[in-house]
Symmetry: D2
Subunit: 434 residues, 4 copies
C-alpha cells in the first residue's frame, strides 16, 4: 500500500525509526547542555530576553505535547502532570492555543520544580517515541511534519540555552564558568581581509525542495541585485578594537539615530561581555574570562554596532539576498558549530579563493529588515504564529553560530533579532558597492 506521498509501508517504517533516533538525539542533547548547571542556575531570568534553562526544558517538551500529541492522541491520554498549568506556563506566545504566562515572569516559576520538569520530559519523550513506532499510518503522515518542526524548534532552543546560560553565569559577580577548557594553542592572526566580487543580475533566494525549511524562508523567488563585493571573512576583535580606539563609541558620527540613543542609554563602550581590566580588554566566554583575542571574530555586537562599524570602515553590511547568494556555493559542513563543543568563534583560515566563515562562528547581521518574502504563507494552524508575527522591528541574521547545532542551518535560513540585541553570538561581515 502506498500513501499519497509515495512512501511504501517499508519506507515509512524506516522513516519512523530514523525520526525516533533523531528525536532521541536532539532531546538528549538539550538535557546534556544543562548538565553543568546547578538546580539554582535553572530558574533565573537575568534579563527579559533570557529564559531560564528550566523553562527551555519544559517549553520544548510542551511544543511536542501541545502541537503533536494533543492531536495525535485524540484526548485519550491521562497526563501525569498538571496540564492546564503547563499549558499556561510553557506556552511561549501562541495566542491561538490559549493564554500564556508573561514572558518577563519566566524567572518566577518555581513550580513545577526542575525535577518535575525532567519527569515531564521523560513522559513526553516516551509518548513521542510511541507515536513514532505505533501510531496509525494516517496519524503518522499527519503528525510527522509537526515532529520535524518540533525537532528544529528544539534545536533553536539549544542555541538559546547556551546564550542564556552565558548571560546567567556572567550576571554573577563570581563569573562562574560553564565548562573547563583544555589549554588552547596560541591563536594564529586572522588572514588579511580580501574582497570577492559578484555581478549584477537577477538571483533566486529562499528555500525550495524536499528538505525542511521554516515558512519564512519560502517561497523561493527572484530578486535583482546590483554588482557588489563581500568580505572574505568576519570582522575580528582586532579590527573592532581599532574602531573603539578611534572613538567609535564616543561620537554619533557613524551611528544610526536609534543606535546612538542605545549607546547613550545603555552606556555601551564595547561589545557585550567585554570588560576593561587596566589597559586590557577582556572577553568572557563560556570557559571564563580572558584577554580579547585579536584574531577571533568579534561577537555579541548589536545591529547598531555592526552598522556603525561598517560605516566607520567605509563599507556597509550585506543584504540578506547578497549574503544568501554568496553562501549558495558554500557548505555548512565545515562551519564552527555547537557540535564541536567549542561554543566560541574561531579565527578564520586563509580564504582559499572564496569567502570563509559564512556558516558557524557568529550570526552575521545583514542590512535587511525582517519582512515577508513575496508570496509568503505562514504555516497553518497554531504554529502559524511561529515566524510571521515577528516581521517588524527586527533585522535578519544569517549563517548560524558556534552555539547553533550542526546541521540546523542552511543558506536560506533566516534568523532575526531586534537591532539592539547583543546576547546572541552575533558579528559582522562587510560588503561594499562596486
Amino acid at each position: 500500500m502506498s500513501d499519497p506521498l509515495g512512501a511504501s509501508a517499508q519506507e515509512q517504517e524506516t522513516e519512523r525509526d530514523a525520526f525516533r533516533a533523531r528525536f532521541r538525539n536532539v532531546r538528549q542533547r538539550t538535557v546534556s547542555l544543562c548538565s553543568p548547571l546547578s538546580t539554582d542556575d535553572h530558574g533565573v531570568q537575568t534579563m527579559p530576553d533570557v529564559s531560564p534553562p528550566k523553562w527551555h526544558l519544559a517549553h520544548t517538551t510542551w511544543f511536542f505535547d501541545r502541537f503533536l500529541l494533543r492531536d495525535a492522541e485524540n484526548g485519550d491520554y491521562r497526563p501525569g502532570f498538571d496540564r492546564p498549568l503547563f499549558d499556561r506556563l510553557f506556552n511561549s506566545y501562541y495566542k491561538g492555543v490559549g493564554p500564556h504566562h508573561p514572558r518577563h515572569e519566566r524567572g518566577l516559576i518555581t513550580r513545577p520544580t526542575l525535577e518535575e520538569v525532567h519527569r515531564y520530559r521523560r513522559e513526553i519523550d516516551e509518548r513521542v517515541e510511541r507515536f513514532c513506532l505505533k501510531s496509525s499510518s494516517s496519524a503518522w503522515e499527519k503528525g510527522r511534519k509537526m515532529l520535524e518542526l518540533g525537532l528544529h524548534h528544539e534545536q533553536q532552543h539549544q542555541e538559546l540555552l547556551l546564550t542564556d546560560i552565558k548571560h546567567i553565569l556572567f550576571s554573577n559577580p563570581r563569573r562562574p564558568i560553564y565548562l573547563l577548557r583544555p589549554g588552547r594553542a596560541p591563536q594564529k592572526p586572522a588572514p588579511p581581509l580580501a574582497w570577492f566580487d559578484y555581478p549584477e543580475g537577477i538571483q533566486k533566494i529562499g528555500h525550495e525542495g524536499d528538505g525542511f525549511s521554516f515558512d519564512n524562508e519560502r517561497p523561493r523567488h527572484r530578486v535583482f541585485l546590483e554588482a557588489r563585493s563581500l568580505a572574505s571573512r568576519l570582522v575580528t576583535n582586532g579590527e573592532y578594537l581599532e574602531f573603539i580606539k578611534d572613538g567609535g563609541y564616543a561620537s554619533p558620527k557613524f551611528w544610526l539615530s536609534d543606535g546612538w540613543d542605545a549607546v547613550r542609554a545603555n552606556g555601551w563602550e564595547a561589545p557585550l561581555y567585554w570588560e576593561k581590566e587596566g589597559n586590557v580588554w577582556t572577553v568572557t566566554t563560556l570557559y571564563g574570562r580572558r584577554a580579547a583575542d585579536p584574531g577571533e571574530p568579534v561577537a555579541h555586537v548589536s545591529y547598531y554596532e555592526a552598522d556603525a562599524f561598517a560605516r566607520w570602515a567605509g563599507a556597509r553590511l550585506p543584504t540578506e539576498a547578497e549574503w544568501e547568494t554568496a553562501a549558495a556555493g558554500a557548505s555548512p559542513e565545515n562551519g564552527n558549530f555547537a557540535d564541536a563543543n567549542n561554543f566560541h568563534p574561531s579565527p578564520a583560515r586563509d580564504d582559499a579563493g572564496r569567502p570563509q566563515q559564512l556558516f558557524g562562528d557568529v550570526w552575521e547581521w545583514t542590512a535587511s529588515p525582517y519582512a515577508a518574502y513575496p508570496g509568503f504563507r505562514p504555516e497553518e494552524g497554531a504554529v502559524s504564529e511561529y515566524n510571521g508575527k515577528f516581521m517588524c522591528n527586527q533585522m535578519v541574521l544569517r549563517g548560524g553560530s558556534c552555539a547553533t547545532p550542526g546541521g540546523h542551518v542552511r543558506a536560506s535560513y533566516r534568523n532575526f533579532f531586534p537591532p539592539h540585541a547583543r546576547w546572541q553570538f552575533s558579528g559582522i561581515r562587510l560588503a561594499r558597492d562596486l
Copy 2:
C-alpha cells in the same frame, strides 16, 4: 559670462527671482497656518512626537540661518538674536553642528517668546532674500541647493504643523476647532473596491533627473516584482468599522506581535481621534468633531492597524516598489493636498480605469521597512543626517496627504514613521498576490 552649470547671467537672474518668490510664498504659508492659534497654543508639546508651533516657526528659520546663511555670509553678519541659544534650541538633531535641546523638552522653551521668534523669522527672511538678489554668482551657485532643500524642509514642517496642531487642540477637553468650515454637502458613498493587476518583471524605482529629490529617493535602481494587484482606492471608514465590529481590536489573531502589544499597552479600540458617543463613532477633524463618514478614507491608523486590517481583509499592504510602480503613471496634480485648505481626506471618486487617491488624502503605509536603496549616498555635510540616520525601525509611507503642501510629493517620495505612529494622516491601500 556663463557659470559652470551653463546658466547665463540672465538665466541666473530669472532663477534668483523665481527662488525669491517661492521663498516668500513658502515662508508666508507657514506663518499663515499658525494664524488661527493663540499665543498659548504655540508653546505646548502634547506628546513627544509633537513639536510646539513656535518651535516649528523657529526651527525652519534656523535651517536657513545655519545651513545657508552661516556659510554664505562668511561670519560678517551681526545677528539680532542670541545665536548660541538659538543654535541649541532650534537644532532638531543635527549632531554634526553641535549639541541640541532634548526633543521631549521643546514644550518648555518660553524664551525666545513667540514675538521674538517672529522677529527672528523676519530677520532671516530679509537676509535670505538679500542672498537671492545680491549674493555673488559663486555664492549663489553654492547656496542655491541648500535654499532649495530649505524650502522642501519647510514644506515638510508645514505638514507637521497641521498634524501637531490637530493633536494639541484635541488634547484640550474643550476640543477647540482650528477652522470653521462651511456647510458640507452630504458625502457620496465610496465606489466599490476594484483591483488593478500588474505583471511580474523588473521595474525601476527611485528618483533621477533634474527636479528636486531627497537623498533617500536615490539612486534610481532596478527591482524585481512579482505579479500583483492593487486596490482601486483607499480603505474607507465604513470598511474599517466592519473590522472593529468584527472584533478586530479584541483578538490577537490578525496582529503582529508588536502590534498586539501596542493595542494592549495603549488601550487602542479604534484609530486616533475616534471616540464613541453612545453608539456612534465620531472623529475629530480640524473643523471639530462629527460622526465618522463611512465613505471617507480611514486616517490616523498605525502601521500595526493597517497591517492587521489588511490581514483581516484577506489581503496585504503593498511594498513601496509596488506602490511606486503603480503611481508612476498617475499625476499628483489632482490630489487632495493642503493647498485646497480641506485638511481632511475626501471620499474617492469612481476609479475610471486606474487606481485613485494615490496622491493626497492620506499617506499610505507600505509593507516596506525604511532602508537604504542600493548605492545610497547621503547628502554631504551636516545635512547628511537629514534622512539616512533614521533607516531603522521605521516603515515607508507613500503619496502625501491632505496636510501635505501641493507640489511637495512625487511618485518616488519616501516618507517614514515608526510602526506605532498615528498622529499623521496615515491610511491604507490594499494589495494582493496574483
Copy 3:
C-alpha cells in the same frame, strides 16, 4: 440688629469694607507678581511640582468661584466663561466637587488663553466685590469664612508662583532673570552660631483664638518636650560649603537610606540652583546668577540634605514643637518676607540674645513628619480636603520664607512638603539635646 456673632450692622459694614480692600490687595498682588513674565512663560510646567503661572492665576480665581460664589449666588448667575471646562481644569484636587485635570498635564492647557484667564479673574473679582458690598447679612456671615480662606489660599499660591517662576526661568538655557536688582552692598559675614537652651516640660502648641488659622494648626494642645538647644540663626552657604567640601554628597554615612537613594538617583552634588563654574559655586536667584554668598542662609535643600547636614554637624533638626515653642516669643514682623520684594534670603544680624531668622528668609525643615494633631478636625465641606488628605509622606516646615507674603504666617503655621522637594526656599536650623 445684631448677628449671632455679635457684630452690629455698623460693624459688619466696616468688616465688609475691610475685606474688600484686602481682597483687592491680594488679588492685585498676584497679577503684579506675574507682570514681568511673557505670555509664553505663563504656560509651562517644567516639572510635575511646578504649576504654570496661568494655572495659578486661574485656580486661585476658581477657588472663589467654586467655594464662595457658587453657594452665595444660588445659581442665579450666568458665567461669562465655560464653567464645566473651568471646573475641570482649575480644580487642583478637590475630589468632592468633581473630577479634575491631571496635575502633571497643567502645562498642556492652551485654552482658555492667558487673556481669557485674566478676563475670568476680572469677572470673578467683580462678583466677589459685589458679594462684599451687597450680599445679604446672612449670606455674608455664611460666606465670610470662605472669603477669608480664599485670601490665605491665594497668598499660598503667591509663594508658589515665585518658586515656580524661579524654576521655569532656570530651566531655560539662557537663564533669564525675573527682576533687575539694584547694586547690592557687600554682604556682611554671618554672626557666629550660638545656642539657646530650653528646659524640659509640658508646652502648648497649635493655634487658638480669633485670628485666622488653617485646620491643621488646631487644636492647641499639650506636648512634653525634653530639654534642648536651638541654633541662634540659620545655616549659611558658607557652612553648607564645608559639608560639600568634606564629601557630604560623596558618602552614604550621614544620609537616611531614602536620602542617599535620592542623591544617587538625581545626581545631587549641591542644593538646587547651585552650579559650579570653574572653582566657584554659583547660585541662581530671581535676579540672575552669582557667586554663592557665604553669609546668606542656604536655601533650596531637601529634607534629606537638611537632615544629613545636621548629622554631619553633630546636631539634629528641631521638631516642630521645639520650633514653635521657640518662635512663640518672636514676632514675624521683622522677617524677610516677600513684601520686601527681595525674594532672596538675607544674612542674619547679630543675635541680640535670642534666635534670629525664625520668620521669613527660608522655610525651616523640622524633624516632624506631617501628621494630625490630637483631636484634629478637618474643615467641613469640600475644603475638608485642603490639608488633611496630605498627612502622609511629608515633613513639616516652619516660619515662612522670602517668598511668603508678609502677614501670612504665624508661629503655629505648618507648611509641609515631601522630603525630596527642593524648589521651595527651604533651609536649615540646627538643634541639639541637652
Copy 4:
C-alpha cells in the same frame, strides 16, 4: 574573678551555655521553616520587597560572620567559602562595611547554590558555637551583645521568610500550599467591639532595663497623651467586607491623597491575597485558599487601607504611644505567634475587661510615622545602620503577628513599613478621641 558587668566566671559559663542553646534553637528554626520548600522555591524574588529564602538563609548567617566572628577571630580564620563574594551578595544594606548587591537583584543569585548556602550555615554555626564555648572572657564580653543582636535579627528574618514564602507561592498560578492543615473547627464569630478608655496625662514609653531591645525603642521618655478610647479587638474580615460593600475602594472620600493614588495605580479592590470567586471573597493562606472567615482579623492591608477604613468607621488609628500605653499592662505570652505554627490570625476571644489581640495575630498599623525618639542614639559601629537609616516615609506597626517568633516582641517594640506595604500580616485596631 569578676568582669566589669559583675558576672562571675561561673555565671559567665552558664550564660555561654544558655546562648549556645538559644543560638541552636533559633538557627534550627530558620532551616526548619524552609523545609517544605523545593530548591526552586528558594531562589526567586517575586517583587522587590521579597527576598528569596536562600538569601535569607545566607544573610542571617553573614550577619554573624561579618559582625561577630570577623572581629572575634582577628583574621585568623580561613573561610571555606568565597568571602569577598559573600560579603557583597549577602550584605543587605550596611554601607559602612562595603558595597552590596542591589536589593532588587537578589533573585538572580544562582551561585552560591542552596547547598553551598547550607554548608555556609553549618560552617558559621560551628564557629559561633565555638565562640560561645571557647572565646576568651574579654572576647565574650565584647561579642555577646552582637550575638544577642544576631539572634533577634534572625528572628526578624524568620517572619520575613514566612511572608515572603507566602508571596512566592501565591505568585504561582497553581497556588501551591506551604503546609497541610488539619481540619479546622468552625470559627466562632468575633465578640462585639467594645471600647476601653484611657485618661489624659503624661506617660512613659520606650524601653529601659536589662532585657534586650533595639536602639529605636530607646530611650524611655515622657509623652503627653489626650484622653482616648481603644477598641477591644482587631477589625475583622466581616467588618472590612462592609467597608468594601459600601464602596470603600470606589470613592476617594475616605482616603489620603497618596492612598487613593495607590488604589488607582495598583487596582486595589480588597486586601492582598483576597480574590473574588463568583460572589465569594476568598483569602489565600499558607494552607491554601478558602472563603474569607468573617470572624478572623483582617490582614494584609496597607496603612492607606487601615487609615481609610478607620475614617469610614468614624474612628482613627491609635498612635504608637497610645498603643504602647494600652499594651503595657498586657502580656505577649498568650498571643497567637509563629510558635503555634498557625501562621494565620485567629478570631478574638471575649474581651474579659481589657483589649485583646494586642500581641500576635497581625501587626497593628499606628497613626505614627516612624521617627527618632527624643535622645535617640543609634547603636555604634556598622550596625548603627540597623534602624536609624529608615526613619523617613514609614509608619510604625506594633504588637507582632502570627508570623513573629514567640518571645520576640515587647510592648515597646517598633516595627515599620512604608504605607503601601501589604505583604506582611498587617491589620487594624481602631481608636477614638474622648
